[in-house]
Symmetry: C2
Subunit: 131 residues, 2 copies
DNA sequence: GACAAATGATACTTTTATAGTATCATTTAA
DNA sequence: TTAAATGATACTATAAAAGTATCATTTGTC
């Protein structure tokens, strides 16, 4: 039972590091040294974050990354969506239509209400809350 | 992000079905017909539930399963522990000691507090709440 | 007692998601 | 010009989840 995968976790750490450096461009080399994340893996993550508009990248020598928006506007749920897909705790059965009684499944309703609360709490956590 | 695996979900359905039959012994054959779960997979699950003291089994012709304890005393968290291991939402990093700052990791603390609430809510759900 | 219908035990295979690697092309400051 | 960076993309490895197969044993019923 894992709410946050390693990809998301690494992304958070990298973003926190970059946020702390304020407006200074930060390279993967620095991040690898500080965070001890496998280099090619981290590169992949950062490229995704760039594509998704969370980071802004600068190519070439002395290049690297900056936050594309303010740290208070990058939420944990944003990262989870990017790396883990839609936020659903109970996709397993519902999605695959195995469930013979989707509508009135009590279990699903109960889990669903817990899900909504978890998501709303996670939605309150932004990068600036983690500095 | 999946709170409940298919194994747990199937187990819940089977237990709910058995609970509804009161004290009548229920065979896998009946369960398969009613719940449309792959037979060998369901058998495996029920054998586990028997070993774990959730079900009681009766061998031989006309054999099958009964609840080993009252439906109000079989909790969703019991099944999750059996099929999904210890209830931790954030095992990923902490466990593997990748995290350079275990103690004061803000992310982990935040997720941890959400985790505790989820577990306590799940702990309130028993089989008899799902009939 | 024979037999059919059940569970017990156990090992195996398949599928999916996660985690990580490798490589070549392109950009850019010095 | 060159070294140090990112972009794009394809590949591999590992682990967890889901599902299958098989043989042994038990037991009610004819």
């Amino acid at each position: 039972m894992k709410l946050i995968t390693r990809e998301t976790d690494y992304a958070v750490r990298a973003l926190v590091f970059i946020a702390k450096e304020k407006k200074r461009i930060v390279s993967v080399t620095e991040l690898v040294k500080a965070l001890k994340i496998p280099r090619p893996f981290l590169r992949k993550l950062l490229q995704v974050l760039n594509r998704e508009g969370v980071l802004r990248s600068y190519k070439g020598n002395k290049g690297g990354f900056l936050l594309a928006r303010s740290a208070s506007n990058i939420f944990l749920t944003d990262l989870m969506k990017i790396f883990q897909g839609p936020l659903e705790l109970n996709e397993c059965i519902f999605k695959k239509k195995i469930c013979p009684n989707r509508g009135d499944c009590i279990l699903r309703n109960k889990v669903g209400s817990i899900e909504r609360r978890v998501i709303s709490e996670l939605g309150n956590i932004a990068i600036n809350n983690l500095l």
